[in-house]
């Protein structure tokens, strides 16, 4: 079990470093994100890497357009979001399926384990099914040591296959949000 997450935690956990390294190994050039505490270390590393062009997005659905535009111009991208944002993506995912754009998403799960905020529960329950209904393959990660390899594998699936892939990072692995800090 991971320690509680706080919004001000500036540490980088080994799995986060490994996952960032996997993103770089995949030759990804653009990153779009709507933040989550579980992504914050990777987001900081992305911003610090001058070879990556990073966009903070106002809505997760922008990630599909961003990834499609990037690919049209020859860039690979990764889209980071939390499970609550998956619901925003449904119609935009039709762009990915109809054109067979490669799409790599890394999604932190909220509302599935030791979640204080019950408003996260419905999208947590719906996330895998919604993504699959809209043509995205799910790659779930429950153990820290699997995170980077799963991102590599999902990236190969997306970029070699012109397909849509979502890596779901379990809330238990990330650590639930600590509401006392």
């Amino acid at each position: 079990m991971a320690a509680g997450l706080t919004a001000t935690d500036m540490s980088v956990r080994p799995w986060q470093q490994d996952m960032f390294d996997a993103i770089k190994e995949l030759d990804i050039k653009q990153v779009g994100y709507v933040p989550d505490a579980g992504h914050s270390a990777v987001i900081r590393m992305c911003h610090a890497d001058t070879d990556l062009k990073v966009a903070v997005m106002s809505n997760e659905a922008e990630g599909m357009g961003l990834a499609a535009g990037a690919w049209l111009g020859g860039d690979r991208s990764v889209i980071l979001m939390q499970s609550s944002g998956v619901g925003n993506c449904a119609n935009a995912l039709t762009l990915i399926e109809n054109c067979r754009f490669p799409l790599l998403m890394i999604i932190t799960m909220r509302g599935e384990w030791a979640e204080f905020n019950p408003w996260q529960f419905p999208m947590s329950r719906a996330t895998p099914g919604l993504l699959e209904l809209m043509g995205t393959r799910i790659f779930r990660v429950d153990r820290e040591e699997d995170a980077a390899d799963t991102v590599r594998g999902a990236g190969r699936f997306a970029f070699d296959g012109n397909l849509s892939a979502a890596v779901l990072l379990s809330q238990k692995m990330i650590g639930s949000k600590d509401w006392n800090k």
Binding site: G65, G73, D75
Partner: protein, 193 residues
């Protein structure tokens, strides 16, 4: 709207006459028909769905191809659905991105219902409020002629609303095969699919 409101297809003809090697992304509906009718090219990406995605596709493309001019041509309804993407673009502001909204103040494909720009919504004000500085409201031919060079050779992110008549110039339909549209575009730009 004035009696002499611009015709949307004439506007697209004026803008794209000097497009050169510009890469064009079109918003679904009338904007796609306009660009396909006037300036068909492998360097066009025609959206048939994913309403609200045109501008942010332009961001990803302009970022990947910094030496190419990217022009997004879309409608007021499509821009409104992706309105948050103007905030995202306002953070990055790629200098090679122009966004042109053909604003007929209506949802043209669904029965010409009034859109928000028929009322108090100003897309140029929204673009300005998101930090985009080269912003223009075009309401006549002279204003259009003046802004076309900036659209085709932007020096900073450029946002233009062109008020156009809410008349239907008829459909001109590119292929609906998204893979074909994508592969043609990538072959033209990158030399590979």
């Amino acid at each position: 709207m004035t009696e002499q409101a611009l015709n949307r297809r004439d506007v697209v003809k004026t803008i794209l006459a000097d497009r050169g090697d510009a890469l064009v992304v079109t918003g679904l509906g009338s904007s796609t028909w306009d660009v396909f009718a006037i300036s068909p090219s492998d360097r066009n990406f025609y959206l048939w769905g994913a309403m609200g995605s045109a501008a942010v596709m332009g961001l990803g493309l302009a970022t990947a191809q910094p030496d190419s001019q990217v022009i997004v041509i879309t409608g007021d309804g499509e821009m409104l659905m992706g309105i948050g993407s103007l905030a995202t673009i306002g953070v990055r502001k790629p200098p090679n991105l122009s966004i042109v909204v053909l604003d007929n103040e209506h949802y043209g494909e669904t029965g010409m219902q009034q859109s928000h720009t028929s009322f108090d919504t100003s897309l140029t004000d929204i673009a300005s409020a998101n930090g985009i500085k080269d912003v223009h409201l075009v309401e006549n031919g002279a204003e259009l002629e003046a802004v076309v060079p900036r659209i085709n050779a932007s020096e900073e992110t450029c946002f233009v609303t062109v008020k156009v008549a809410s008349t239907d110039p008829g459909k001109a339909l590119p292929t609906t095969d998204g893979v074909e549209i994508k592969n043609r575009f990538r072959r033209a730009v990158l030399g590979t699919i």
